[in-house]
Symmetry: C2
Subunit: 339 residues, 2 copies
DNA sequence: CGGAAGTGCTTAAGCGCTTTAGCATGTTTG
DNA sequence: CAAACATGCTAAAGCGCTTAAGCACTTCCG
């Protein structure tokens, strides 16, 4: 067990001061007029002995951690998992590291995680806000901490955010079903005051208006266990007998599909907000509103890094378009999955 | 923007020394014979002003971060995502926080992540080792860093690990297919020298022996894009025409199902190693070898915490049984999914 | 009644790094 | 030729905390 080598060891070994080594290591050799020869000598020695500075000490001294805290709704949801991956890669190339945690959309957990990140002095925050955390976000804001929300925002709070055009996405999805000739198009969504859910509801309603249809809406509880939710959806389907269903999130869609599996009613047309790897496997395959995750990740990192650089002071609100991925839903093909 | 309050502020405000406050805050009041009155006074004041110690300074001083680094193959894989969640919760209740990153099973990324965690001075490591990181793990070991591997281990290295009984799991899966009357049972697996994959292969082969069948094995590359893998599996199925397929991981199973969807050959019996939420949605539903994720998470945390406490010195190897979740595969029921 | 032991607290060092201020030199320049 | 400046480096303070050592006083006990 070789013991940890310190900057002072290097200084001593090379017969120079700790200051000089520090300057060189931080790329300030030129600026601080350290001779090229010495710079080279130090760099080579550092390389040779494999010195790694103690990041804790560095952070304590500089007040910077080069870490971005990512507070995400559910890391096991492919939509979020993929965004997290992209953010991670992009941040990495800029010298930042990501630490992430899931909130399950629970306010207390969210608040606690943000506190944890504050304790760890992360340099910036990327957050999918749950309900009821307005004050926590406000606190970050008043402490001037770099912050960008995504997937949804908090109405009335002036923050950076990156969201997709949920109204438009939901409208397109519903309109697509209407154009296919479906008449009883249902929306299955959550009890939620969050912007993305409200916007999806609005988009659905607008399309219902455009096509002069009747709305059929079922709301379920996020917190309920899957069996309960499945039962609720099942009853709704049996009662209302929609000929098409628009699920407002991919996990509601999955639960909905499970309900449909056991349901005696005919297979309705199906669209899901957010895609899922397995959706293309079903017969008929499932049309989905796909958010531009690459663009979202890019914008999130851009906005945050601009804040971190201190370049940009004003807040930025970005809305990106979603795309409807239409899969052949009316022509069930011969498929092994269908047994 | 209220400025951060320090332990010295508290000491000054209360007219006591920083040391005293520190002792009280760290629960050493009794041990250090601080009077109950003062203890109470300090605690109340701390509460009132909402003081939070600077964890960085604490860590620098104590050398402990109370953080566990979780290096996981792929956080978007439900198996790993669920384990991560469980580990997180359990660690949390013991006062530890988790930071996690995905390796995609790539050696360089894994090595880099472990280095990142070392830089951040995490107290302990939970790792799904990719191939080619023996030296990195060895380095952790020789520096006496608390460490536990899972899902697989590194042959010849004496480390803590928690794995499931892959041989048995694969045997049961294959035997199940054989008992159903399938004759041409194929295994689709990865090119991999990792223990879990080798064990699954061994289990399959043993069952093939027991039932006097012929083996049909297809190996695919982890790194290939999905379309390539799908094509490879497709060709294999078309050539060999197995009447049952055992997929060695859940993501191979998913790719395999996609291949099957476009395949003209009759639907084979299917078993997947590792379950997936959506498997129960297919018709016929898919039987899966389900690992005991709760038990795995429990053991991982237990083993690691014991190391962290310094109580336990010797290493511990734990193997847990997997369970075969048999779903009604021979009786395709009327299902909406089947169009 | 004097030394030992107990009580309740504080002083000060130091974790490993960054950074401000400044100290010798050598080189211009008016 | 002294003042002014440039060059190449260093001393030392300090980020916010923990903790070993110790100080002054009281109580106990043979």
């Amino acid at each position: 067990m070789k013991k940890k080598i310190l900057i002072s060891d290097i200084a001593k070994d090379l017969g120079v001061s700790v200051t000089t080594v520090s300057f060189i290591l931080n790329g300030k050799a030129k600026e601080k007029r350290i001779s090229d020869g010495l710079t080279k000598r130090v760099l080579e020695y550092v390389q040779k002995v494999g010195y790694k500075p103690n990041e804790l000490a560095k952070s304590l001294r500089t007040g910077k951690t080069k870490i971005i805290g990512l507070v995400i709704e559910d890391i096991s949801n492919p939509f979020f998992a993929n965004i997290a991956r992209l953010i991670e890669t992009r941040a990495y190339s800029k010298g930042y590291r990501i630490i992430y945690c899931s909130t399950d959309n629970q306010p207390d957990k969210t608040i606690e995680l943000i506190q944890l990140f504050r304790d760890r002095h992360v340099d910036g925050y990327i957050i999918t806000p749950s309900e009821g955390i307005r004050d926590t976000i406000q606190a970050l804001l008043s402490n001037q901490l770099p912050l960008v929300l995504f997937d949804r925002y908090i109405p009335g709070l002036t923050t950076n955010y990156v969201v997709s055009d949920n109204v438009r996405g939901a409208y397109d999805a519903t309109a697509h079903l209407a154009q296919q000739g479906y008449k009883r198009i249902a929306l299955v969504t959550l009890y939620s005051s969050q912007t993305q859910m409200q916007d999806r509801m609005n988009g659905y309603m607008r399309a219902i208006d455009t096509y002069k249809l009747q709305p059929y809406v079922k709301k379920v509880n996020m917190g309920d266990d899957e069996a309960t939710t499945m039962q609720a959806i099942y009853s709704f389907l049996a009662d209302q007998e929609p000929d098409a269903v628009f699920f407002a999130t991919n996990y509601i869609a999955i639960t909905g599909l499970k309900a449909l599996k056991h349901s005696p009613v005919p297979m309705p047309g199906i669209v899901s907000y957010d895609d899922h790897t397995l959706f293309k496997l079903f017969s008929p395959t499932i049309t989905a509103v796909s958010q531009p995750i690459e663009a979202i990740a890019d914008e999130l990192i851009n906005v945050l890094l601009n804040q971190l650089d201190g370049k940009v002071k004003e807040t930025k609100q970005i809305m990106l378009p979603s795309e409807l991925i239409i899969r052949e839903s009316s022509l069930p093909q011969t498929s092994l999955i269908t047994s």
